[in-house]
């Protein structure tokens, strides 16, 4: 397994730990170029198949990195980024350095939280009023938010929020207030995730 599978990019001290990683790997470590480090594990292909299990492992490795040493900042990569050698990976770190730096600045000390509001079956909801109520509660706390697809008729709201780690508790309480105020809604509150929805770094031709 000589290729490197990349989970994300960070600027902090290197990490190294054992865990269940993508494609059966169990050792996660960093490949560094100057002050940027790619969080990687070894893999025997450069085109990994995206199974549910490996997608979950990708996300869990990122969460583990984020939780280390009181909270690290990592620019998450989408599933499937693998490179043939350290040299190739370091070339990418060098070439995309300004973009990674910008992304790291944007998400420094912040986490992503997801909120889906699902209406109970056979109920009517005033979508606009609900959107306003949610915005009033959550937008003042969040640093940023983005809408996601409403992929089901039952889904009334689907948003991702970028929140300062220090504001996490305040955000949790605001979501709880929304839940209490809307008996006719099912609240699906998820995270924290690495801030996938708030970084936009494209590496070459996706390898």
């Amino acid at each position: 397994m000589t290729n490197r599978y990349v989970y994300g990019i960070m600027a902090d001290e290197p990490v190294e730990f054992e865990t269940d990683a993508v494609a059966g790997a169990d050792h996660v470590y960093t490949v560094s170029h100057r002050r940027l480090s790619a969080v990687v594990s070894n893999i025997d292909t450069t085109e990994p198949e995206e199974t549910d299990e490996d997608a979950t492992r990708h996300d869990e490795v990122l969460r583990e990195v984020m939780d280390r040493d009181g909270g690290r900042t990592v620019v998450p990569m989408q599933f499937g980024m693998a490179f043939e050698s350290d040299r190739e990976l370091k070339n990418v770190l060098r070439g995309a350095r300004p973009a990674f730096r910008r992304a790291l600045n944007d998400i420094e000390g912040r986490i992503e939280l997801g909120l889906k509001l699902v209406r109970e079956e056979d109920t009517d909801i005033d979508d606009d009023a609900l959107e306003d109520a949610v915005a009033d509660e959550l937008e003042p706390i969040a640093a940023q938010s983005v809408p996601n697809d409403l992929f089901s008729d039952r889904l009334v709201l689907n948003r991702s929020y970028l929140v300062e780690r220090d504001d996490r508790e305040r955000f949790d309480e605001a979501v709880a207030r929304l839940e209490d105020a809307h008996d006719d809604l099912i609240v699906r509150y998820t995270g924290p995730f690495a801030p996938y929805s708030f970084v936009d770094v494209t590496i070459g031709a996706q390898r």
């Binding site: 889906k116 697809d149 089901s152």
Partner: protein
């Protein structure tokens, strides 16, 4: 309007071919299948869909999605043969 646009830009393509291509696009609607996959997951996570039903539907949708993506790739590369 889109049919007209297509015919204006590709005058040698017959209307039957264009309609057939549009029908294929609609039949193999990748976005709709992706949405249904996500909805299936959501309903499972909310406890409204039992695991067996969820897994069965997921497998069906993934198979349909693979075919739909293949058809779309062929449509965009012009490799689908349309016979009238």
């Amino acid at each position: 309007m889109f049919i007209l646009d297509d015919l204006l830009f590709r005058p040698f393509v017959g209307i039957v071919d264009t309609l057939h291509t549009m029908a294929l696009s609609e039949l193999y609607d990748v976005d709709a299948l992706e949405d249904e996959l996500k909805e299936n997951q959501l309903l499972y996570e909310l406890g409204e869909r039992p695991e067996t039903v969820y897994q069965e539907r997921k497998a069906e949708l993934e198979a349909e999605l693979e075919i739909a993506r293949d058809v779309h790739e062929r449509l965009t590369s012009g490799r689908v043969e349309v016979k009238s």
